[in-house]
Symmetry: D2
Subunit: 363 residues, 4 copies
């Protein structure tokens, strides 16, 4: 008796009945390869594939909304000091952030495409995210393996970044290129009172590299501000260090840049954030968007997890609590390596809408 | 003096010169969207994009090698007991393993395509990987969100699997379908002395479902063995438990199945492993391949990490130490959610070679 | 004007005022080493340290509640078939699950302590979690490194499990030990009609090893059932495979075990789950607890993440939606390697209460 | 025949014999709780427990070596410009880096202990790692949950950092405290020509807070330089932004700081790196150590993974390839949340050696 009662209770627990789900909920259904390989249809099927495939599908939608809003005519100007508040003339100011390793990787070409065609409005990256772009104009990076011995590589003067290999000679070439520019910068500071900031230095370097393969060449050409407050944290810093013993006095001020950066958010009509990776680039863009009570749209692509309380791994909903993303936004996080995801996202968003986004003559 | 000496030493450390890298090393270069959106070319560019994009590129190559070897004519038969050693007639026996969540997701449709066209030779999955396929023939799964409240869902009888939602009614329907089959199985065991094993039960369920949307319908039709030693660990087990109080006596033997599974590796000419996720499915396929001193080809797609010593997260090189992968193999691990990766892999491998792999009449 | 207005709006967004938090909320405060190194106080301070340290603190509380409830006298028996429903006489039936790598590691000694003193009621593990315990009674496992070359290790016959090394000779010794036992098992099946299941085989092996270093020796002595439905997935399976060619006929039935396992949950007064790692062990324990409409207490320790929709990485709240954990429970997940966490948990829970848990004579 | 041959070959593959391992290899053995709960012995047993427990054991050894070398008398001064090259008088200059969330957590108290007793020589953190320390002197942070709704929290003015809650009023209090200091800084810049850098500003704030609970109060008292090149990326930046509209002109130069930072490495006898988390703090310390051809000792504690090519997740061996860690070093990475690990490390290293490290009078 007691046993039968227990078994029946078990059955009740297992076979609970459900209330109906809303009619418009998406049903899970993957791509049917019997219809042949149609990549666009396959990527569209991601939305109903579940897990991170669905997140990719949602990220595509979110970025396409940013693009659509960006193309909306802006009726009236939110004013401000024209010299540094740089009011965006677009209906949605898009902030693009990425960690340095993505510039080391082939994701650089996707980013360069966006800068070349002025598809984003503000860029934030780390020091490596700046210098690796210039270094790649001077010499190539190679595909290696994650498991190569650090000691053997050092003995051969080969630096490893994940499964990429960068010969140290590339940095020697960078030194040759950068040192005369640093001399000129110090000279201009003395002669013309130039007040250097990281973003101004990046603008100048973009002009100097004068190479259409470079992200920052195009940022320079298209006047896209690039913020990197810790610009000294990398090879540029190494060169500045050595240079300071030969030709001291250079000042790089981060106060003017935070003002410029924050104004990009404050004076925007709407904003969208596309952030690849974590650390400074993620925090910096989100923090600026707090100044406008939150971004309207957000896509994060990274491999970080929330459990350690890091900002890098935090879900977008944490940013909502801080006012960095609007309460009514539908932010998307894709948990994956951006080297796979970002080219796919660009294919289905910016590049898909190239005809609308690129003025005819430059297409 | 001392200072200048120190600065020079620093410069020497920073500006170490490199020895030359081999001429044939791949240079890192991402896709150039200025050439338009050509998805196939984009996916081909993954190989030189670095990080996990390169791993995806390598996984495509590895699977295409499996396919090529599989198509090679097998001259002479490696013999054996025809009843259970089931010598593979293919030049490369492909083992496909996946965790249950992938059947819950839209990856199921990619797997079903492979089973439908007999593109793989052995399947290993968990109990959920079996039953969710049948349940999806009875009622749909929906797209939800990772953050939905467990308590509220339970009150509504809705089960969550990541960002998927499965109404509990689906399991009630599954009970209605499975119970009479269990009755028949017990009857056949008594009457005909049927010696049930998990793989035989799955074969039978595939026949009973009789639905071309089902992976195991096709595995049944195409005589692809499906191993799931812990078949009782899920809804099937729940039903078997309840059934045992109504109609006791069913025996599911796992000894015959391990013999059949291991023979699939032992009597193969070559083997390839494609394993999505970790846990039992990963270990079970790799362990069988130890019996042949290692698989020739291997692709792992999962999000596990090695640091906790789990088999799930172990790099393929750990399997080499055990003799589960050949010492001269070039196994590939892609660190990513298979919901994104597997459809892309199928697009560039099995589906790309559909004309060679699918007999004309069934195409 | 417009600018000043914008700046004021920014200030309003940044300097939002907060509503009061409840008085009894814990304040974040870490251990103060100025008071000297008091490890117990340090571990107690984890609760208010935040992030996963707080999760460790909560896990200690949750397990201590399980222990407290387990010690409560059970007034009246929930009946049932005494032969297999094995009603627990404890106020809280504790299910302990762990993946095989933890038996390979020194966590084994913590687990053995729990089995030795009958501090847990049901054990679930994978095949490796069984065999590695016996193998360690035959020969030691060593500390190596994660980065050792698989090829070089295979050439030397050394198997790697994370940063552990197991000489393959250990498995040869295991074969010598196991083969005669398999002979006896087949004999008893034939002679006495023994109906072997994985749990019965583990019980027998625990008796045969007759070594107080073994977890399963104590499980045998203390009659703690150990479930491992896929017991053939490992070295035991290899031996069964070879043995089947010499002395065929052994049957290992998983149906009787699922009945026994589920009954452990169904006939328990309360249940607690302590699950280290993911995969089968996590699912199997949680699934059994669905049969009682959910476990009362739960602690998960693993490194999995929810984003890929795996059961391994799912948060406890996903199990609530399935009815595997009670809606009013306060389950805890610690995101960390159990090799660090579990010994700390045992120190502050089972071992801390050893005087209450261990009958005087055996202490 | 063929079958038997195949089975024998399988057996040969499975039962490969091993070559002997060196006699001095550590055997895996966990803590035996039968000897009672001796926490120190338990933590010592971590070394032979395997997986990350062993990494914790190795990290304890590595830090204790740093401490031992740091206490060695430094015979002769490596000279240099006394004003900014700040030659370390210790035998091992210890760089401590941590992300901001650790200051938000109770790990702050461990860090403050190290600063208070001048146990480390250089600190690197992010903007949040600075300001949260001061904010905690003004109002408390609370323990919440990872799953709290961002929208509901924002409506209540409560910010979430992982499972921590920080009322936004705390930031209002911070504004009240910081604004007058910014006024003074601008004034001093104008009047005295003070050349502000992030490290000088942090030093000044440490003086102003004048509170022994503060990490940076003690860094100020003990003259430990604290570097944070992107100091504007957080609440301090928000305040500087607002302040710039009331009282413009402040300059924060990062060039002088990179010179000071790099000199800390260049002029050190030996160096050790203890880095909790990733991003800027990890890169900045390692990059400075490239200037001396590599750190002698290194301990990383973070949850990042290498697969995405991030610097955050890179294994120490990647830093060896760059010359940031010496080729003959034995760097240790612990894959875990520092909230659990760092207090344990301090207990077994700095605090364990407190009698040697703390001058008697201050003990």
């Amino acid at each position: 008796m007691a046993e039968q009662h227990a078994i029946l209770a078990a059955k009740d627990a297992v076979l609970v009945h459900s209330t109906a789900l809303p009619d418009d909920m998406l049903r899970i259904k993957g791509y049917d390869f019997n219809q042949g390989v149609d990549h666009r249809a396959l990527l569209q099927s991601f939305l109903t594939t579940g897990f991170q495939a669905s997140s990719v599908g949602q990220a595509i939608q979110e970025i396409n909304t940013m693009i659509e809003k960006r193309l909306e005519p802006v009726e009236e100007q939110k004013g401000g000091d024209p010299s540094d508040s740089s009011p965006s003339h677009s209906g949605c100011t898009i902030f693009l952030g990425y960690t340095s390793n993505l510039i080391s990787s082939g994701v650089r070409e996707s980013i360069r495409y966006l800068a070349q065609h002025k598809m984003v409005d503000v860029i934030v990256t780390t020091a490596g995210g700046i210098e690796e772009d210039f270094i790649k104009c001077l010499a190539p990076t190679y595909l290696g393996e994650f498991s190569l011995s650090g000691k053997e590589l050092r003995q051969r003067g080969i630096n490893r970044t994940g499964n990429l290999l960068v010969p140290n000679d590339n940095y020697c070439k960078f030194e040759d290129w950068l040192m005369p520019i640093l001399d000129k910068m110090v000279q201009e500071q003395k002669d013309e009172g130039t007040h250097w900031t990281p973003s101004k230095m990046i603008h100048r370097l973009g002009k100097e590299i004068n190479n259409p393969e470079s992200v920052y060449y195009w940022a320079y050409k298209n006047d896209i501000p690039v913020f990197s407050p810790a610009l000294t944290d990398g090879s540029i810093g190494d060169m500045i260090y050595f240079h300071s013993y030969k030709n001291p006095g250079l000042i790089l001020d981060i106060v003017e840049d935070i003002r410029r950066m924050d104004n990009k958010a404050v004076f925007a009509k709407r904003t969208g954030m596309i952030i690849l990776g974590g650390g400074l680039v993620k925090h910096h863009i989100a923090n600026a968007n707090l100044m406008r009570n939150g971004a309207d749209y957000a896509v994060f692509v990274n491999t970080g997890q929330e459990f350690d309380g890091s900002d890098s791994g935090a879900r977008p909903d944490e940013a909502v609590s801080w006012g960095k993303i609007r309460m009514d936004a539908k932010p998307v996080k894709v948990y994956a390596d951006a080297s796979i995801i970002f080219p796919l996202l660009v294919a289905e968003t910016f590049a898909f809408h190239a005809d609308k986004l690129i003025p005819e003559k430059t297409q």
